[in-house]
Symmetry: C2
Subunit: 153 residues, 2 copies
């Protein structure tokens, strides 16, 4: 029962809930397809995408900075991906604390497939908006994102 809020607040809550629900429901669809069609997960995909983008590898800390998740989180995902043989860890010769992580050849091949499917899914999901509409959506979302960032200073 939200009716004791004023009309403006109700509208704000409505928009936020729709934003959350839309994003979550697309994300859930992607997770399900990654699991059922590709036997992988979104966090694994995200790590592989980061490594595909940085072709000469990343350190663990660079990886967690890039993905904006905690250090310990990356440790777990990377070690499971390494178990699967999709990524390789090599010791840094100059700094024995550090290691460089990159996609293995099979990881590269695997990601190529994943990325293609992923792009098709997104293409399909975004179909209902034409170029102008998706530009409008992008602009409105950017306004929200930028405002929020400023509040976090």
């Amino acid at each position: 029962m939200v009716n004791h809020y004023d009309a403006n607040t109700r509208q704000h809550l409505r928009v936020w809930l729709k934003l959350l629900k839309t994003s979550t429901s697309i994300e859930t669809a992607l997770r399900e397809r990654l699991k059922k069609e590709c036997s992988t997960t979104l966090p694994r995909f995200d790590v592989m995408a980061a490594l595909d983008h940085h072709t000469d590898g990343l350190r663990m800390t660079e990886l967690s900075d890039f993905l904006m998740v905690s250090n310990g989180n990356v440790t777990g995902i990377v070690s499971r991906l390494a178990e699967s043989g999709l990524i390789e860890r090599t010791q840094d010769t100059h700094d024995r604390r550090a290691q460089k992580v990159c996609l293995s050849p099979s990881g590269q091949a695997e990601f190529k497939q994943l990325a293609q499917r992923h792009a098709q899914w997104i293409d399909d999901i975004m179909q209902p908006l034409n170029t102008e509409e998706s530009n409008t959506l992008l602009t409105l979302l950017e306004r929200l994102a930028n405002h929020k960032v400023n509040k976090n200073d």
Copy 2:
């Protein structure tokens, strides 16, 4: 490296990533404020909101249906909320498998505070959009959400 996709696909990926990032970043801000200012979590808030909405209580399965999360998930959150004295569980008299869950008096009082703060945060986050813009955003999001739902049939 997304440049081997056509312009349309690139635009779709860009919009989806912005949608995901905006939603996640707002959600993260809410989680942080709930934790730091209210010593609680978003899942706890969601359960309390559902029970506040259904004043005569809900069964565990009704609760997990309403929140669209798994049964076992609700079990954990509800038992932690019960430990904190914020909700009460009563056995169903006619069905000994079932129980009815509702907010305790202190849970109701607590949620009243939480909901007010939550609404203020959302109000603040949505400030950059005027009524017309937020209506546009709502409409575009609804188009995406509806399309996605249809694909899941």
